[in-house]
Structure formats: structure tokens, C-alpha cells
């Protein structure tokens, strides 16, 4: 096929530059703000240049918001619990959808897709009541329980497509040779589906990390269980906002998800798009 000429190259690269500026500007500006002293940030109009950039805010933020470490831990703990619980519920269900034929199979799969479209915001009132009935308000569970529910549908679809890639002949051969279901699960399915499980687990982790805000502000009032997004609002003081420290804490808060994503992005993107594009 024909190569791009210089003019076309310049055109495409400048297009990419504009596009990427839109996507990345908030992050770049967050990072830049985190390096600048507060009195530089509070100059109007905006100053593009600062000569005393430092990582001072990254040290000071732990003093301004003493619970910051706890919030970061909470975010991790919540996201990990949600991801693990999601996997526990999703693995048997996805396996069943991938392998068995049964009445109402397709209908229920589409119902799952439809459930995915209801945001948590619509269900807050009754969810509040459910959690209150079980005495789960103001606890980790208040954020974990609804979190898992909203990750189950997509995770089933994702994992189902991974299980379907494992040739059924392998299982059938083992079954005919007299292997039990448990043996098949342990020796054939488990090892072959590990990559799929990792991707779905990471997907659930990122999803859980991202969804913490709504459930946290609605179902939990206790500081010691707060995840990082709600903790960040403590940098907003009565007098002024400590923007540099807030941005520093934000970046520290998102670094783990970003790193996980960058290492596994290829698999996650493939998994997510496979369903929509080929289906």
C-alpha cells in the first residue's frame, strides 16, 4: 500500500497532537500544579512558568490530611475485595454460560446486558434501605456489596468469551476417559483460563476503584472507611483549596490503577472490544 508523504505525515501528527492534548491536558496540568508552590498557583492570570518546582507537596500532603494513607489503603482494600468477590460469583456462572445448553440461556444473557445499563444512581433509595436492613451502612460492606452487583454482568460476558476459547474437545476427551468434573476443572479449565481470570480480575479491580465515589458518599459517613476520592475533598479548606497538595494526592491515588492498566492494557482492550466488535 502507498506510504504517507511528508505533508500527510505532518497533517496526521498534528491531528494526533491536538487529540492527545485534549486527552492528557488535565493530567499534565495536575502534575505541573502538584510541583508548584501554592503562592505561584494563586496568581491571576495563570503563570505558565515557575522556577522553583519541587516535590514538596508530595511530603506535605500527609500532614495536611493525616488520614491520607488510610484512604489509599481503603481504596485498595475495597477494590481488591470487590474484584475477588466478583470473580467468586462470576467464575461458575460464566463457565455455565460457556459450556451448557439450557432453557432461557440467551434471554438471561441479554437481561444481564440490560442490567448493566442501570446506573447505581437510580437504585440508591432502595439500596440504602437494603443496606440499612442488614445493618451494613457505614462500613466497608456498604461500598463492597453494591459494587460487586454492578460488575457481575460485564464480568460474566468477558469471562464467558474466555472460557469459550478453550476447546471443548479437551474436556470431552477427559470426560470420556473417566475424569470427574472436579478433575477436569482442576487440570484442564483452571490452568488454561488463568489469563482470562487475570484480565477479568483486573477489569473488576479498575471498575471497583472507579466506582467508589457514589456509594461512598451515599452509604458511608465514617471517615475510617472512606476511599481516596472522598478523602481528597479534605484538601478543600474553609479559606482556600490546597491545590498543589490535592493534585499530588490525586496522582498518588491514581498511580496504582494507571500502572496496572498500562501493563495489561492490551489484554483488557482486546477483551472488552472483542464482544462488541465481533458480536
Amino acid at each position: 500500500m502507498n506510504k504517507y508523504n511528508t505533508f500527510e505525515k505532518i497533517l496526521i501528527y498534528s491531528g494526533i497532537l491536538v487529540f492527545m492534548t485534549f486527552i492528557l491536558l488535565p493530567f499534565v496540568e495536575m502534575f505541573y500544579a502538584s510541583l508548584r508552590p501554592l503562592d505561584h498557583l494563586f496568581r491571576s492570570p495563570y503563570q505558565f512558568y515557575s522556577d522553583d518546582l519541587s516535590f514538596w507537596a508530595y511530603r506535605e500532603m500527609w500532614n495536611t490530611v493525616p488520614m491520607l494513607g488510610r484512604y489509599i489503603f481503603n481504596s485498595f482494600f475495597l477494590a481488591t475485595s470487590v474484584a475477588v468477590l466478583t470473580l467468586i460469583f462470576v467464575i461458575p456462572a460464566a463457565y455455565s454460560y460457556a459450556r451448557f445448553k439450557f432453557p432461557a440461556k440467551n434471554t438471561s444473557l441479554y437481561v444481564l446486558l440490560a442490567i448493566n445499563m442501570f446506573s447505581g444512581a437510580v437504585l440508591l433509595i432502595p439500596l440504602y434501605k437494603v443496606l440499612r436492613t442488614f445493618g451494613l451502612l457505614n462500613s466497608y460492606q456498604a461500598m463492597i456489596v453494591p459494587g460487586v452487583a454492578f460488575l457481575i454482568p460485564t464480568s460474566i460476558w468477558l469471562l464467558k468469551s474466555y472460557f469459550e476459547k478453550i476447546p471443548i474437545d479437551l474436556e470431552e476427551a477427559a470426560f470420556v476417559d473417566g475424569a470427574s468434573r472436579v478433575q477436569i476443572l482442576r487440570h484442564i479449565i483452571a490452568p488454561l483460563s488463568t489469563p482470562g481470570l487475570v484480565v477479568v480480575g483486573i477489569y473488576a479491580f479498575i471498575g471497583a476503584y472507579a466506582q467508589q465515589f457514589l456509594f461512598a458518599i451515599t452509604f458511608n459517613q465514617k471517615k475510617e472507611y472512606m476511599p481516596i476520592p472522598s478523602g481528597l475533598y479534605e484538601f478543600i479548606g474553609y479559606q482556600s483549596v490546597k491545590w498543589n497538595e490535592m493534585m499530588a494526592a490525586s496522582l498518588v491515588g491514581i498511580a496504582p490503577v494507571l500502572l496496572v492498566f498500562i501493563f495489561l492494557q492490551k489484554y483488557i482492550v482486546e477483551g472488552l472490544t472483542a464482544g462488541a466488535v465481533k458480536n
Binding site: 487529540f19 486527552i23 446486558l113 437504585l123 476520592p229 490525586s250 491515588g253
Partner: protein
């Protein structure tokens, strides 16, 4: 042997047993609350208790001018946000699909707005939109477009536009990545044949790429409409639906009624409207999906 295999794939009770835990969980945390919301919408439920009031909540809601304004606003907001996501996403996908150096890095760099928790990304936007110290106001002032500090989130019109832009920022990566995946699924020989026939790059895009990825474009417009309709955190963090209600969409209004004023009944009535609209979207989406699947299996 065939008999035995048949029993391996057709153990319905086992199939259901494996699905049961996930199904029960969904019923308890999603399905039951949905039904409970419908019931609550016929009551005047609040912190003080509840009584059955029939269609009172609906009557009040539908006869209020404010509510009609909210519905219109929701759809206008959605229309601009979804269109921008699709247009920018398509342009982005075309750019990143070009076979040039660095494209694999750019493809990773598109994703952060989607990966990062919205609540944190919006803190960045709050800073960008800051009227005195933010970079956007700063550029405006230095170039003379603005003649002084300008709070983008403080005025009705600019707040409306600003929340749309932030929403587009969150939603575009997903659209771009899906379009990109679709473009790479277009069979290469189509392009090679067209190239041999002397078709220009432009022709190849409009006569091959675009028709080939149309199913994905349609699917994404619907999905994106659903996500945008549900968008809560972005508006809530940037403006809380203000100033003076200028960014109050249906979802924001539902939340405000229910958990801001503790008028559960009124909130529930709004939630039911949300559900009905979402069911319509979902119905469209699933019907479309079924049609596309049918078409593929026929080919």
C-alpha cells in the same frame, strides 16, 4: 460414547446451580431494588415514614414546568455530548489507525481518562476551569479573549458547555478504542483491491472503512447514549447541578430529590422515569444487537 457426551453438555440442573449465586446476588441488589423503587414512587416515603398516595408524585412531577425543563435539558446535554464523543472518537481512531511511528504508544495514552476514577479526573477539571487561576481562563486572559477572570462553572451557559466537555473527555477514549478495534477488523484485501483499482485514501475511507464499521458506530452511539444519560459524578462534582439548575439533568434531579431532600417518594417517581427511558434505550440496543448477530450468522 455419544450418549455419555450428551449428558456432559446437557446437565441443566448443574448449569442452573452454577449460575444461581450470581443470579441471586443480582436479584437481591439490582432487581429487587428496581421493584421497590416502583412501589416507593406511589408513596410519600420520607424519613418520617410512608403512606400510599397513588399517582400523586407523578402528577406533581409531570405538571411542574421545572421537570419538563429538566427532561429537555437532559436530552440536549446528551445530544451534544454523544455527538461530540462520536465525532472526536472517529477522528481519533482514524488518526491512531494510520500506520506511523509511535501509534502503539498513542493508543495506550488515549485510555487514562477512562481508567482513572471519574471523581479524581474531575478534580483536574475543577482546576482547569478555575476562573482566576486556571489555565483555560489564563490563556483566555493573556490572548485577550477574556477581559478578566471568568468562572466557567459559575454561569449558566458556560457551566452547561463545560460539563459537556468534561463528559466528552471521560467518554471519548472508550469510543476511540472501539472504533479502532473495528477498523482493524476490516479485511485488508478490500483495501488492497481498492488500491489496485486506483481508489484514493479518501475514497477508501468513505467507501470501505465507514460502511464496514457502521454496525459498531450504531452500537457505540446507543451505548454511549446510555452511559451519557447515566452520567452522574461528572456533573455532581463540577457543579452539583447548578448554577441555578443549569446543569441539572434527570439523574442529578433524582439524586437531589431522594438524598438531598430525603423525599424518597418523589425521588423514586423520577427514578421510574429514568428506568422507563433506559429500558427503551436498552430495548433498542438489544434489538439492534440481535439483528446484527442474525446478519453475521447468515453471511
Amino acid at each position: 460414547m455419544k450418549q455419555k457426551l450428551k449428558s456432559y453438555n446437557a446437565q441443566t440442573y448443574l448449569a442452573y446451580a452454577l449460575i444461581a449465586p450470581a443470579a441471586l446476588y443480582i436479584v437481591l441488589i439490582v432487581a429487587w431494588p428496581l421493584l421497590e423503587t416502583i412501589r416507593l414512587s406511589f408513596t410519600n416515603s420520607s424519613l418520617a415514614g410512608e403512606d400510599y398516595v397513588g399517582f400523586e408524585n407523578y402528577k406533581k412531577m409531570l405538571s411542574s414546568k421545572k421537570f419538563n425543563g429538566i427532561i429537555t435539558r437532559t436530552f440536549v446535554w446528551m445530544f451534544f455530548s454523544v455527538s461530540l464523543k462520536l465525532i472526536i472518537g472517529l477522528i481519533g481512531a482514524v488518526l491512531l489507525n494510520a500506520n506511523l511511528k509511535g501509534r502503539s504508544i498513542f493508543r495506550v495514552l488515549v485510555m487514562p481518562p477512562w481508567v482513572v476514577p471519574i471523581a479524581i479526573g474531575m478534580l483536574g477539571w475543577l482546576w482547569l476551569y478555575n476562573g482566576y487561576f486556571g489555565i483555560i481562563a489564563g490563556v483566555g486572559m493573556r490572548t485577550g479573549i477574556l477581559d478578566g477572570p471568568f468562572g466557567f462553572l459559575a454561569y449558566k451557559q458556560s457551566a452547561f458547555i463545560s460539563t459537556i466537555i468534561a463528559d466528552v473527555w471521560v467518554g471519548t477514549p472508550m469510543v476511540t478504542v472501539f472504533f479502532l478495534a473495528a477498523m482493524q477488523g476490516v479485511p485488508r484485501d478490500l483495501y488492497e483491491a481498492a488500491y489496485c483499482d486506483g481508489a484514493s485514501r479518501w475514497d477508501r475511507f468513505f467507501k470501505i472503512t465507514l460502511p464496514q464499521i457502521t454496525p459498531v458506530i450504531i452500537t457505540m452511539s446507543l451505548l454511549s447514549a446510555i452511559w451519557t444519560f447515566n452520567s452522574f459524578e461528572i456533573i455532581w462534582i463540577l457543579t452539583e447541578g447548578g448554577p441555578r439548575g443549569a446543569t441539572t439533568t434527570l439523574i442529578i434531579d433524582t439524586y437531589k430529590q431522594a438524598l438531598g431532600n430525603y423525599k424518597f417518594g418523589r425521588g423514586a417517581a423520577r427514578a421510574v422515569v429514568v428506568m422507563i427511558l433506559l429500558t427503551l434505550f436498552a430495548g433498542f440496543y438489544l434489538a439492534l444487537l440481535a439483528r446484527i448477530n442474525k446478519k453475521i450468522s447468515h453471511e
